[in-house]
């Protein structure tokens, strides 16, 4: 797995399970947490087995990010556009969550393929909600306009109390990620990973990818940003997105990949650490083998019974052998 999938595997599995056994009433009460502190809660009661309550809580937004009624701007419209009649937004949401959706499982499309597509879409609810502001900006980019009323920098929350920044312009959008890691080894890995990442972008095969830059200091786009948002210990990554990157179907993928870029890097940092460990383990094993082979004692002991049978020992040698 190189890219993170946009749907939550467990949510999709639960939904599919529920839809396939709709006539059997069961009680479900699951809660779980995904990366970047997105919490989910699913509730199905015996009384009304067709209704499924899905609550989502988002990472705590930093002061600079725009939140309206506990959701990023554009989220309500995005939910309505993505899900249609099968989903209803409950207001107020369940205690401790930012959003509660009521799914009416009886109202799903009857045809297998559409139903599956809708369930996958529901399982990617975090892409729809958290990616909503980004989607609005990129939608405007594809029609080469700027959202009226927003000028300058736009902050979008992606982790608890952390945000990334957009600099929307009619013909391009610059996305800047301040990268922060907790562990010192992670910082080292992430820094070199990001440098490689920028390097890899320059190879011939990737000419059409968004251009990408890494710098240890905040880039010029961020000069208006609040100072506390600019403390990044693994540098800043910026992508320049052009209209051709958000045409048609590419939009969904771009939104997802950008809004989870930090999770993507941290996943690869962990994978690289794992890979290093594998290599180290192999190296240690080969060294131990070499050491074992080089040990003089082992070989001598092995040979001694043979040599005894072939060579008659003098009394002195025999005594020395028996001592050793």
């Amino acid at each position: 797995m190189i890219l993170l999938q946009s749907h939550s595997r467990f949510l999709l599995q639960t939904l599919l399970n529920r839809v396939q056994n709709l006539e059997k009433a069961v009680e479900l009460d699951y809660h779980w947490v995904e990366f970047d502190d997105v919490r989910y809660h699913i509730l199905v009661s015996m009384k009304n087995p067709n209704a499924l309550l899905l609550s989502v809580s988002l990472p705590i937004p930093p002061p600079e990010a725009v939140f309206m009624g506990g959701l990023p701007f554009g989220a309500i419209e995005a939910i309505k556009a993505a899900y249609g009649v099968a989903v209803q937004i409950l207001d107020p949401p369940r205690d401790g969550f930012n959003l509660t959706l009521k799914l009416n499982l009886g109202k799903l499309p009857p045809d297998e393929e559409h139903r599956y597509a809708l369930l996958v879409k529901i399982a990617s609810v975090r892409e729809v909600v958290l990616g909503a502001p980004l989607r609005v900006v990129l939608k405007h980019l594809s029609s080469r306009t700027v959202i009226p009323g927003i000028d300058g920098l736009l902050a979008i929350v992606h982790r608890s109390k952390e945000s990334f920044f957009l600099d929307p312009q009619p013909d391009k959008v610059t996305v800047v990620f301040p990268m922060r890691f907790k562990d010192s080894i992670d910082i080292a890995f992430a820094t070199s990973f990001l440098q490689e990442f920028v390097e890899a972008r320059r190879t011939a095969g990737l000419n059409n990818a968004p251009s990408c830059l890494w710098s240890p200091t905040p880039p010029l786009e961020l000069k208006e940003a609040p100072a506390e948002a600019l403390s990044a210990n693994a540098g800043f990554v910026s992508f320049v997105i052009f209209p051709r990157h958000v045409e048609g179907k590419k939009l969904d993928r771009t939104v997802w990949n950008l809004s989870t870029f930090h999770a993507y890097v941290s996943y690869h940092v962990k994978c690289s650490e794992g890979f290093m460990h594998t290599r180290m383990r192999r190296r240690v094993e080969s060294m131990i083998q070499a050491l074992d082979r080089a040990k003089p004692g082992v070989e001598g002991r092995k040979k001694s019974p043979n040599s005894r049978s072939f060579k008659r020992l003098s009394l002195k040698e025999a005594r020395a052998n028996s001592i050793s």
Binding site: M1, I2, L4, Q5, S8, R9, F10, Q13, D29, Y30, H31, W32, V33, E34, F35, D36, D37, I60, S160, K182, D183, D186, T203, G205, A263, S266, Y267, K270, C271, E273, G274, F275, H277, T278, R281
Partner: protein, 348 residues
Amino acid sequence: MDATSRPAVVIDNGSGYTKMGFAGNVEPCFILPSVVAVNESFLNQSRAPSSKANWLAQHSAGVMADLDFFIGDEALAKSRSSNTYNLSYPIKHGQVDNWDAMERYWQQCIFNYLRCDPEDHYFLLTESPLTAPESREYTGEIMFETFNVPGLYIAVNSVLALAAGYTTSKCEMTGVVVDAGDGATYVVPVADGYVIGSSIKSIPIAGKDVTLFIQQLMRERGENVPQEDSFEVARKAKEMHCYTCSDIVKEFNKHDKEPAKYIKQWRGIKPKTGAPYSCDIGYERFLGPEVFFNPEIYSSDFSTPLPAVIDKCIQSAPIDTRRALYKVKYPSSREKIALIFDLVQNSF
């Protein structure tokens, strides 16, 4: 927000299946076969001096050598559909056998299945009662150094089985746990939450042997099952239809009187020709689990029935714990063999 405010991640790695999920839910999120399918074709090239060419070859093939692997059901599907993937089972007989595969398995569990950030959660892992301290150390090393988990507890799964039976009305952490897994079966006496290590008895019959026995029975009866599928069919038969009985002779009679009620049908498709086939699942429904109670029907070198092993286990425990141990016995539900414990009780 720190890790205490989030649910802990629980991963129970067994030789056959891995169960994982979050604390606080009634059941695991995922139950997957403990198997990794690795594509070795690129890994071996990385030693070659031309690393740039290697990188390009990987890039054009659309893979990253160290990330090109699958776990669980996906692994089984991959290895069936293409022959570039090799299956490896990281856990054998309840002990981690291949640490590389194990680390990859955990990586996929955390990032692809549970999709959580390991830095945000405490972790609860399990080990079998006879795991060496070195292996526990190694597990800790991987968890802390690779995944940076904030906290880790490695519990003995038999103690967890007792904890599962811990309710407000019955506050006891004392009992004998019969831990029948896929690769190993242990009889573990636990007193007040502590394993009495010296009295652990292991039985060389486990879930896999039940499957093998069912496979053998079906083959001997001449059931129409293709050779390459027979183990899978036997496993499914075990998981879906097996039960234990209190008296084999009565059970044989019951099956003979009403075959329509007791004999189950299995339908499948031959993997090579695609032709459908069906076979009967008859006596093996109760004969399979019977290998625990009458091992001589399956193996010639081990013939002590399970109740006798439990008795021996309790007899070898310290004398002050024996009375409590005789009182309660818990089945561990690691494998879905319905080890009905009335049976054990009856035979005392």
